[in-house]
C-alpha cells in the first residue's frame, strides 16, 4: 500500500530548504528541545525502542535496542558515529537528506547523543559528496550559533558537538568497524567482533554507529511519539515501524527517491512510483536494496517456514506483492538492505550484470581476508572468461564453490555481500550463463542497456 509521507522530504526542492530558518518553520528542533529539557536518558532509549526504527543502512537492526547497548556508567567518553558513507551500488537516499534537509540529521544527532550518553558525534561522509559535506557543516554552524550545539544546548548542562569527517573513496568504510578505523585515521579495514562498538568503538571508547537516515528520522519519531510513529507502518506488528526513504533506479521510467510508510510493495514501487519498466518491457529481475542483496525473479513466491511464523500471512504470495520490510525480504530469500530498488528489464543480460558487480567487489575488497580478496577477483575473472566464450561448465560450477568458500569465512559481512548476490545470479540465471559456455550467445550480443 502506498502511503506517502513528507517528514524528511517536505523541505526538498524548497528555496533554502536546507537552512535552519526553513527547518524551524516546519517545527524543527522542537523534539530535541523537549528531549533535552524534559526527558531522562532512559526515557529517550525507551521512546526510541517504541518507534521500531530498523536501521536504514542495510542490516535492519532495531535502533532503540542498539542505543540500549551503550554502557550506563563508563569512565571513558562515548561517541556517536553516523554512517553517511553511502557507497552501496543502487543506494542514493542519504545524499538527498544531507543536501536538502541537513538539519534533520543534526537534530537527530542531538537526540541520539543524549540517549546514548555521548557528547560528540562524528558524521562520516564519503569525500565525493562535497555538497553534502558543505550543507552539513553549514547546518552545524547555524545550530552552534543558535546555541543548539555547544556547552549548553537548549539551556541544558549537557555539551554536544558534531564533526563532519571524510573518507577517501572506499566502499568498505561503510562497514561499521572499518568506518571506525577510518575515523581514527587508519586504513579502512574491518575489525573483529567482539568487542562490539558499544564496548570498544571509536578511539577505544563506547560508540554507537547509526546510518544517517536512521538518525535523521529520529526527530520525527520523537515529535509524533514512538508508538504513533511506528504505527505509520503496515508492518508495525512485526516491529518494522514508521516511514522511510524508498529509491527506485535502473530500468524504470521515473527513477527517484520517495518517502513512504513502510508497507509499500515492489510492484507499487516499480509500476506506480517508478512509472513502470523502461519500454514497457517485462521484468528480468529486481535487486531489492543495494547490490549486496540477492536478486529476485518476478515470478518468485514467499515461503513462510510454518504456520506460527509471522510471515505466514504472506505465504505463497508473489514477492512483488509482499510489503517491503526487513523480515519479509529475509523470508523471500534476499534482504531489504538500503531499500533502494534496482530494476533490470528483459533484454538486459544478467551475466553482464554479475560481471559488473563482481568487478565492483574485486575493486573494493579491503584485502585483509584471503577468501574475500582472492575470491572476489576469482569470481570476476571467471565470469569475464565465460562472457568471452572461453569458460567451461566446470568453471561455471566452480563459481558456486568460490562463492560458498567466501561465506562465513571473513572478518566482516563484505564477504557475504559479495557471495550472496553471486550465488543469487548463478542460481536464478543459470540458463543465461550456460548459453555463453555453449557459444549460443557472445559478449558482442549482450547489453545492459534497454530502450
Amino acid at each position: 500500500m502506498i502511503k506517502a509521507c513528507n517528514h524528511l522530504t517536505k523541505l526538498y526542492g524548497k528555496p533554502n530548504g536546507w537552512s535552519l530558518e526553513a527547518y524551524e518553520r516546519e517545527g524543527g528542533y522542537r523534539a530535541a528541545r523537549r528531549v533535552l529539557t524534559e526527558m531522562t536518558r532512559e526515557q529517550v532509549v525507551d521512546e526510541a525502542k517504541k518507534a521500531n526504527i530498523r536501521g536504514r543502512g542495510g542490516a535492519g537492526f532495531p535502533m532503540g535496542v542498539k542505543w540500549s547497548f551503550m554502557p550506563k556508567q563508563s569512565t571513558k567518553p562515548a561517541y556517536l558515529a553516523v554512517n553517511a558513507d553511502e557507497s552501496e551500488p543502487g543506494t542514493h537516499k542519504d545524499r538527498t537528506i544531507m543536501e536538502e534537509n541537513p538539519h534533520s540529521a543534526i537534530e537527530g544527532c542531538i537526540i541520539a547523543c543524549y540517549g546514548i550518553g555521548a557528547h560528540t558525534a562524528y558524521v562520516y561522509v564519503r569525500d565525493e559528496l562535497h555538497l553534502s559535506k558543505a550543507r552539513l557543516w553549514g547546518a552545524i554552524k547555524e545550530a552552534r550559533a543558535k546555541g543548539y550545539l555547544g556547552k549548553n544546548p537548549f539551556g541544558k548542562d549537557y555539551a554536544i558537538d558534531i564533526v563532519v569527517h571524510t573518507g577517501g573513496g572506499t566502499y568498505i568504510c561503510g562497514e561499521e568497524t572499518a568506518l571506525l578505523n577510518s575515523l581514527e585515521g587508519r586504513r579502512g579495514e574491518p575489525r573483529l567482533k567482539p568487542p562490539f562498538p558499544a564496548q570498544t568503538g571509536a578511539f577505544g571508547c563506547p560508540t554507537t554507529v547509526n546510518n544517517l537516515e536512521t538518525v535523521a528520522i529520529v526527530p520525527t519519531a520523537f515529535e509524533m511519539g514512538g508508538e504513533k510513529f511506528s504505527q505509520l507502518s503496515a508492518l508495525h506488528d512485526i516491529k518494522d515501524g514508521g516511514c522511510r526513504l524508498f529509491g527506485v533506479n535502473g530500468h524504470v521510467k521515473k527513477p527517484q527517491i520517495v518517502e513512504l510508510a513502510v508497507g509499500v510493495t515492489l510492484r507499487e514501487l516499480i509500476y506506480e512510483i517508478g512509472g513502470g519498466v523502461t519500454g514497457d518491457r517485462a521484468l528480468l529481475g529486481i535487486i531489492p536494496g543495494g547490490s549486496s542483496t540477492p536478486p529476485l525473479l518476478p515470478d518468485e513466491t514467499l515461503h513462510a517456514p510454518d504456520e506460527k511464523s509471522p510471515m505466514h500471512k504472506f505465504h505463497g504470495k508473489n514477492v512483488l506483492d509482499v510489503p517491503l520490510g526487513v523480515d519479509t525480504m529475509r523470508a523471500a530469500g534476499t534482504m531489504l538492505g538500503t531499500c533502494c530498488v534496482t530494476v533490470m528489464a528483459e533484454g538486459s543480460c544478467p551475466v553482464l550484470a554479475m560481471e559488473n558487480l563482481m568487478q565492483f567487489y574485486r575493486h573494493e575488497s579491503c584485502g585483509q581476508c584471503t577468501p574475500c580478496r582472492e575470491g572476489s577477483a576469482w569470481l570476476h575473472r571467471t565470469v569475464a572468461k565465460i562472457l568471452d566464450g572461453e569458460g567451461s561448465m566446470e568453471e561455471l560450477d566452480q563459481l558456486h564453490d568460490i562463492a560458498n568458500n567466501i561465506m562465513g569465512n571473513t572478518i566482516c559481512a563484505f564477504g557475504e555481500g559479495t557471495a550472496m548476490p553471486a550465488l543469487g545470479f548463478l542460481k536464478k540465471y543459470r540458463k543465461d550463463f550456460e548459453k555463453y559456455v555453449r557459444g549460443e550467445r557472445t559478449r558482442r550480443d549482450a547489453s545492459l542497456v534497454v530502450t
Binding site: 552501496e88 577510518s182 535502473g250 559488473n356 565492483f360 575493486h363 542497456v449
Partner: protein
Amino acid sequence: MPFALSADRERELNEILTRYPTKMAATIPALHLLQDQEGWISEEMMIWLAHRLDVSPAHIKGVVTFYTLFNQKPAGKHQVWVCRTLPCALRGAGDVITHCEKKLGIHVGDTTKDGKVTLRTAECLASCGTAPMMQVDEEYHENLTFERIDEILEKLQRD
C-alpha cells in the same frame, strides 16, 4: 624547496586537529588538504605529514595507498570520474565512458597531453536515481546526455 603547507591550509590543519582526541585521526582530512594544494601526494609530503602528526611514515603511506582518491603521481588539472557500476551501467554508463574517451582522445586512467584532464571510472557515487552521471572535480553532473558531456568536457579543455 622542502614541502610546506600554505598559511591558510596550516590554519585549517590546526583547526582539524582540535576535532579529535588523537592526532592520527587527522590523517585523512590532512591528506585531502595536502592533495588540494599539490594535486597529488609525494613521498616527501608523506614524511612531512608523519612528522606533523607524530605517526610513522609507513602509517601515512599505508593510508595513502588504501584510499582511491589519493593520487600517488601527478594528475591532470581536472579530475573526471565516470560512474561505471551497475545502476549507471543499466542506463548507459558504458557509452558515456566510450564517448569521453573519444572526445578527450585518451583511455580511462590517462591524462590528456596538455595535462588538463584525467579520466577515470568510479565505483558507485550514490547517484543511481539520476544515472548516468560523472563527477568533475567537486561537482556532480547527473542525467547525462552526449550533448551535455561535450559541453562539460569542452569547458575543461578550454580552461
